[in-house]
Symmetry: C2
Subunit: 348 residues, 2 copies
């Protein structure tokens, strides 16, 4: 086939930047020539008015969920109304709690049974569509429930990791609108967490300091990526943010395990979480959003190198063949600009 | 806070299965209780009728793109009509070709300039919305263009990897409807490819055989996951498929680098690719779809352990907080069922 020329198009735009996530060694392309402001993104927003469908998470419909594994209530009986928070097994679990792992080979392939737990945290009896519509006291209860469930699931030695997460909005994977979180307990340590653990350990072996503690200090000093700060927590746009407006909440106190958080910090965390989600909702007009808690594996002892934290991931940019093919991300919004937008949001 | 009960919901459904990708050691949950048939998935299909907007990729609009870097044409001048395929720099590149890498630290962080190439392969002068509407001869030209561009970009020693990919449909990241592919040349080897390379190398050190060659033989024998087979290629649903209807095209001939493919195999590959995409389009009703070519890094010599291949990734399932938090995937469609569906599609 005939081929021609190799003239190259010279771009006069600002140079994109490759930034490395210090935890996972993953490179992210901060491509500042593309969409960057909140108004530039495609959106499938979270509706603000309920659909009116019958909701299995509302009081009175307790029989529409599997029996509860935990509830905070004022004297009423299990699986009856009168609760302020309920944790139930997911009706369509991705993993089942009964049985053995039964590790097997199939020629060159490996498999095991999908043993684990998949639970739903119904955050409030009120049928609201976003966590930001809950009072701080209810959000604090959610944080307590996360802790209680981790302490309980830890007793099952088959379970090596408990992932706490939240899908808000259809584009983020939510199928029910009543505000809820989820928990999946796994017989393996997730790939992404394993990468963070290894990155943090390597750094500790080199410096004898926690990478996250160093990151906290550097970010507080630089200030450019900080969204808010309290006595206990900082809210920061990570240096190598994968997604526009990706936001992390980091505790100032070093703890490797979420379940070891000091309980009198939870009220402050509830305030920080609510105000962060409200800033993101205002800046991006109720975007679909995911939230995950990264913590050390439940069967391991407290360690000096890993540092639990919350990652908030607005779902406003589409993932293309480039991301799927490389495992790298293109982020059109520099985290410094995202931090500025979020700081400038008026919360009142 | 008061806490209650630990009664567990017992599921009588089929047990989900955890399967490990032998290349990347990534576990995938094959959760057979959830959506699994083509009709169960949400879709943002690729339209079948053009929007009527002015298209910068159509003949006569050559001035609306940066000047071409490659074209197959019959005697006409560069950047004029008369071409059957054109490769142009992306007008909004995620990486720029000019400058030095300029690696730098920022305290604990690392960055470098976003040096690389970002090009668009305009697959045909015809304004069609899917590669399946092209004659096989045009698809063969696309495969030639991929090869030609890799050979050219290889000469730039700063570029370590060339990713060829295709986004079809908005949900897959496409912004223009005229059928096209893309190429991004990177100064680093992508994380996902690096994991495949390392997995394949580890296997080779252990067995002195290529993992993909073993996989080919095992899959052809088992037959359950095979979609089609020719003298030169097999089309297979991978054992640990991350997504419903994820489909791989593997050459039977061992080559680590796509650009080293024997050119008389390309006509057969064009047929295999077109029929595979048509099966997926029929089964899932023109789903948004990504396609990526995984190949060894351009600056490295041919090796006996890596094996180039094409991955086709229909975008019919939503990614949730679980996938983002763990790096693991939940796939509701066992690849054996997907293979059966695709085999059963009538192409005439």
């Amino acid at each position: 086939m005939p081929s021609r020329g190799t003239c190259r198009y010279i771009s006069f735009r600002a140079m994109p930047e490759l930034r490395k996530d210090p935890l996972t060694d993953q490179w992210v392309i901060i491509a500042t020539d593309r969409a960057r402001r909140p108004s530039d993104f495609i959106r499938e927003p979270v509706p603000s008015v309920p659909s009116g469908r019958i909701c299995p998470f509302c009081p009175g419909n307790e029989s529409k969920t599997p029996p509860e594994v935990l509830a905070y209530r004022n004297g009423s009986g299990a699986n009856q109304p009168g609760w302020s928070l309920r944790v139930v097994p997911n009706k369509f679990p991705v993993l089942g709690i009964e049985g053995d792992l039964d590790r097997q080979g199939e020629g060159i392939f490996d498999k095991m049974q999908g043993i684990g737990a998949h639970e739903v945290v119904i955050e409030s009896p009120d049928h609201v569509l976003s966590m930001t519509e809950l009072p701080e006291k209810s959000i604090e209860q959610v944080l307590w429930a996360f802790r209680d469930r981790m302490h309980d699931l830890k007793n099952d030695r088959r379970l090596r990791y408990v992932l706490l997460f939240k899908n808000q909005g259809e584009a983020a994977g939510a199928t029910l609108e009543h505000t809820h979180s989820q928990l999946i307990a796994l017989p393996v340590v997730p790939k992404r967490v394993q990468e963070e653990l290894e990155g943090a350990k390597k750094y500790f072996e080199f410096k004898e300091r926690c990478l996250y503690c160093d990151l906290l200090r550097q970010e507080m000093k630089a200030a450019a990526r900080i969204v808010t700060e309290t006595d206990r927590f900082i809210v920061v746009e990570p240096y190598a943010a994968r997604f526009p407006f990706e936001t992390w909440i980091l505790p100032k106190q070093h703890r490797s395990h979420y379940e070891d958080v000091e309980v009198d910090h939870l009220a402050n965390l509830a305030w920080v979480l609510k105000s962060t989600l409200r800033r993101i909702e205002k800046a991006l007009e109720r975007p679909a959003c995911n939230l995950v808690i990264h913590t050390a594996p439940v069967q391991e002892f407290a360690n000096p190198y890993y540092h639990w934290h919350i990652e908030v991931l607005p779902r406003v940019a589409r993932v293309s063949g480039f991301e799927l093919g490389t495992g790298y991300y293109v982020n059109p919004t520099p985290p410094e600009e995202a931090a500025q937008f979020l700081r400038d949001v008026k919360l009142t």
